[in-house]
C-alpha cells in the first residue's frame, strides 16, 4: 500500500483555523492527511509540541498562523516565526529532515490557500517517505 503521511497541524484560532473552516464551507477538497489541533495563537505552540508530535510518529508538522501584521494578538506570529528558525535546526539535530516542520501564513479568508498548503505538504512528505524518529524518545504516558 502507498505511504500515507500522518501530519499534525497546529492552527491559530483567529486566522488559520477559520481559514480551514472556510475551506470546508466552500467545499474545497484536499488530502485527509493533516489532523488539526487548535491553539488561540500560533505563539502558543511550544516547540516541545512539535517534537512531541514527531516523537509520536508524525511524518510532518504544519504550523499555520495569521499573516505578518495581521495577528489577532498583534505580534504573536513574529514570535512563531523566530521560534521556527530554531526549531528547524533542533529537529535537524535529531536527524529529522527540517522540511517535515513547516510554517505557513493562512488568513481567515484563505480557505483555498489552506487546501493548497495541505495538498502541497502532503505531497512533499509523501516523497520524503516515513519519518525515522528513533532519536526522539517517546513521551507517551503509560496507560
Amino acid at each position: 500500500m502507498a505511504f500515507e503521511p500522518r501530519i499534525v497541524g497546529f492552527l491559530c484560532n483567529w486566522c488559520s483555523y477559520t481559514g480551514a473552516d472556510l475551506a470546508g464551507t466552500s467545499r474545497i477538497k484536499y488530502p485527509p492527511n493533516v489532523r488539526v489541533i487548535r491553539t488561540m495563537c500560533s505563539a502558543r505552540i511550544r516547540p516541545s509540541f512539535v517534537l512531541k508530535a514527531l516523537a509520536e510518529g508524525a511524518d510532518g508538522v504544519l504550523i499555520c498562523g495569521c499573516h505578518p501584521g495581521d495577528c489577532h494578538y498583534s505580534e504573536g506570529n513574529y514570535k512563531t516565526l523566530r521560534r521556527q528558525v530554531l526549531l528547524k535546526r533542533l529537529v535537524a539535530g535529531y536527524g529529522i529532515e527540517p522540511e517535515r516542520v513547516r510554517l505557513e501564513w493562512v488568513s481567515a479568508s484563505e480557505g483555498q490557500r489552506f487546501a493548497e498548503v495541505v495538498a502541497d505538504m502532503t505531497e512533499r512528505i509523501r516523497r520524503l517517505g516515513p519519518s525515522r524518529v528513533e532519536m526522539l524518545p517517546s513521551t507517551r504516558r503509560a496507560g
Binding site: V8, D21, A23, R35, T39, A43, Y73, R83, R141
Partner: protein
C-alpha cells in the same frame, strides 16, 4: 486540581443531516468510542445542535453521571457556545466540553468515506484524550469604571460624549485642536437637505461645554493608555502638562483628513490658482462669496469627483460623501450665481443615502451638465489661452459620448476624498487596535459589531473607521455610547475564564513572560520575586506559556498536558 480517578465521558457524534454522515460513518465512531478509556456512553444522532439533540446530551449527563462531554460535529467556532450551554443546563461546568471538528475540517473537504472516517476517528479520539484533562473553569468579574475617554471632539466625539453624559456618566473629551467641531465645523451646508452645519454644531457645542458630566481638554493628546476594559489609566498631555485619568472605556473618534489634491498632477492644484478643493469652496460659501483668485465672478464652475478616491494610484475606496457634496455645490453655486453654468465631472454617481437620489434628480433639473470620465483616467486641467473666453480648459475622455472633449471653466472645485490622519498609526498603537489595508481602524465585525474593536473596552466611531457622512457618524457614536452604557449598567465586567496563570512556586522570576506579553498583562512582584498575570488584561494567546523556561505559566484550557494528550490522540 482534584480530578476524579475515573472520568465518565459521553461522546456525541452528529450526523448533521447528511452533511457529516454522507462521508463519515458516524455509527462506527460511536461504536469505536465505547472502547476508549473513560467513555461510558457514545451515541450518534441526526442533529446534535437541535433541541432534542441538546436534551439528549443533558439527559445522558444526568443519567449516566457524566463528568466530561465530547461532541464530534461542526467547527467549535460554530456551536461550541451551544454545547457549552447544554452542559451548563445539565449542571456540568461548560469547560468540561471538547468538540471534534468532523464537518468543516473533515466531511466537507474529503470525498473518500474510509479516509474521512479514519480522520474523524482520530479527531474524536484526540478530543476524548484532551477532555480527560479539562478542568472546570469559572468566569470572573472585575469592576467597571463608568468614566469614558472620548478621543476627538468632532461630531462623532461630541455625540458619544453627550449620550454618555446624559445618562449620568462622566466623560472626558480629548481634542488635539484648540476648539471642538472637527471637520463639520469647516463646512457650510449639508447634503441633501441643505441644512446648516453650523446649526447642527452650535447646539451640541453649547451643551458639551455646559454639561456637568463632560470635561473638555483642548490642545490635548493621549500619551499612554494602560490597563484593561473597565479599568484603564490614561496619561493625557494638555498644553505641555501631563494629566492622569482613570477610565473604563475609550471611544476613538479621531476622524479623517482630506486627500492632498496636489498629488494628482494633471489637475494642476497648487499651480493653477483657480483650481481649489471642496474645503476651500466651503470657506468661500461661509464667507458668502464665490470668486476667482483675481476677485472676478466665475461664469462656469466645474466640479471634479473622486479626487484621490476610487483609483488604483491613490485610494481604492469610495469616500462616500463627495458625490452628494458636489451636487450640493451645484445648488449653492446656482443660488448664489444664477447666471453661472455648473459642470459636474464624475466617474459613477453614488447617491445611496436617504433622500440622495431625489437630490440627484433635483440637481439635474437645475441644468447641471453631467460628464462622465473613466476610473484611473482623471481629467487634465490647463490654463486657457488668450483667445479662449474662459480661465481654464479641462480635457477628458467622456464616456457617455465616447469622445475626448474639452470643457471651459473659470473655477474648478476638486472633490477631495477622505484619508486616515497621519497620526492614525500612533493612535492605533496607543489604544492597541488594528488598521485595515487603507489605514482605517478595524471594527470587531464588519456587519454585526461595527463599533467595538478587537481590544475590549476600546470603541470606534465616525470617519476614523472608514469614510462616513454625518448621519452614519452620529449613529455609530450613539451605538458606541450604548455599548458602554450597557456595561456600566451591569457594574462589572465578565472576564473569560480562559487566561494564563503563573505558578509562583515554579517561577524563577526571569520575566521572559512579561517581555513576551503584547498586553503588558504580566506584572513582576519584587517581594515574591515572581511574575503574576493580571487576569482581566490577559487575552489568552498563550505565548507566555510557550516561552516560560520553567513551565511555570499555564495557559488555562490550552495547557501543555491537554495539548500533549491531543497530539497523542490524533496520531
Amino acid at each position: 486540581m482534584s480530578r476524579p480517578p475515573l472520568p465518565r465521558i459521553g461522546v456525541f457524534v452528529c450526523n448533521c443531516g447528511t452533511n457529516i454522515a454522507r462521508t463519515v460513518d458516524c455509527e462506527e465512531i460511536a461504536c469505536a468510542a465505547m472502547e476508549w478509556p473513560g467513555v461510558v456512553v457514545a451515541r450518534a444522532y441526526k442533529y446534535m445542535c437541535s433541541d432534542p439533540g441538546q436534551e439528549m446530551i443533558a439527559e445522558e449527563v444526568r443519567e449516566k453521571r457524566l463528568d466530561r462531554v465530547v461532541v464530534a460535529a461542526c467547527s467549535p467556532r460554530m456551536h461550541e457556545p451551544t454545547f457549552r450551554r447544554a452542559l451548563a443546563s445539565s449542571g456540568l461546568n461548560p469547560y468540561l466540553l471538547e468538540m471534534a471538528n468532523i464537518r468543516e475540517q473533515c466531511s466537507w473537504v474529503h470525498d473518500d468515506p474510509r479516509a474521512a472516517t479514519d480522520k474523524a476517528l482520530a479527531l474524536a479520539r484526540a478530543a476524548v484524550a484532551r477532555v480527560v484533562r479539562h478542568e472546570p473553569l469559572e468566569k470572573r468579574f472585575v469592576p467597571m469604571n463608568p468614566a469614558t475617554l472620548v478621543l476627538g471632539g468632532g461630531i462623532a466625539g461630541m455625540t458619544a460624549a453627550l449620550q454618555l453624559a446624559d445618562a449620568g456618566q462622566p466623560v472626558t473629551i480629548v481634542e488635539r485642536a484648540d476648539r471642538l467641531g472637527g471637520n463639520v465645523a469647516r463646512i457650510d451646508l449639508t447634503a441633501p437637505h441643505l441644512d446648516s452645519a453650523r446649526e447642527l454644531l452650535l447646539g451640541r457645542l453649547a451643551r458639551v461645554s455646559m454639561h456637568p458630566m463632560i470635561s473638555v481638554l483642548l490642545r490635548a493628546e493621549l500619551e499612554q493608555l494602560e490597563g484593561y476594559q473597565g479599568n484603564f489609566t490614561a496619561d493625557v498631555a494638555v498644553e505641555g502638562a501631563s494629566r492622569r485619568l482613570e477610565i473604563g472605556s475609550v471611544v476613538v473618534c479621531t476622524g479623517y483628513k482630506e486627500f492632498d489634491a496636489a498629488r494628482v498632477e494633471g489637475l494642476g492644484y497648487g499651480r493653477l490658482p483657480d483650481v481649489i478643493t471642496s474645503f476651500e469652496l466651503e470657506l468661500m460659501l461661509k464667507r458668502g462669496r464665490i470668486e476667482m483668485a483675481d476677485g472676478r465672478t466665475p461664469r462656469t464652475v466645474a466640479l471634479v469627483h473622486c479626487v484621490g478616491s476610487r483609483s488604483e494610484e491613490y485610494h481604492g475606496y469610495c469616500s462616500r460623501v463627495c458625490c452628494m457634496t458636489a451636487l450640493k455645490y451645484g445648488h449653492e453655486v446656482k443660488s448664489a450665481l444664477p447666471g453661472a453654468a455648473v459642470v459636474d465631472l464624475y466617474i459613477d454617481m453614488h447617491a445611496f443615502g436617504k433622500g440622495c437620489e431625489d437630490f440627484y434628480r433635483k440637481t439635474a433639473e437645475i441644468k447641471t451638465l453631467f460628464l462622465m470620465y473613466g476610473k484611473n483616467a482623471p481629467p487634465v486641467i490647463r490654463p486657457a489661452g488668450p483667445k479662449d473666453d474662459c480661465n481654464l480648459l479641462i480635457t477628458l475622455d467622456e464616456k457617455l459620448s465616447g469622445e475626448e472633449i474639452e470643457v471651459p471653466a473659470d473655477l474648478v472645485v476638486l472633490m477631495v476624498g477622505m484619508e486616515p490622519r497621519e497620526d492614525a498609526g500612533r493612535v492605533a498603537q496607543l489604544v492597541n487596535i488594528s488598521r485595515d489595508k487603507d489605514g482605517w481602524f478595524i471594527e470587531s465585525h464588519p456587519k454585526l459589531d461595527p463599533v467595538a474593536t478587537t481590544t475590549d473596552g476600546i470603541y470606534i466611531a465616525g470617519a476614523c473607521q472608514s469614510p462616513k457622512d454625518i448621519p452614519d457618524s452620529v449613529a455609530q457614536a450613539r451605538a458606541a455610547a450604548a455599548r458602554i452604557l450597557a456595561k456600566v449598567a451591569k457594574g462589572k465586567i465578565e472576564v473569560d475564564a480562559i487566561f494564563a496563570e503563573v505558578d509562583a512556586a515554579r517561577c524563577s522570576g526571569c520575566r521572559i513572560c512579561g517581555t513576551m506579553c503584547p498586553y503588558g498583562a504580566i506584572e513582576y512582584d519584587e517581594e515574591q520575586k515572581s511574575s503574576r498575570v493580571v487576569e482581566a488584561s490577559c487575552k489568552a494567546c498563550g505565548c507566555c506559556a510557550a516561552a516560560c523556561p520553567s513551565l511555570a505559566v499555564r495557559a488555562r484550557h490550552f495547557t501543555d498536558e491537554q495539548i500533549f494528550a491531543q497530539i497523542e490522540g490524533v496520531l
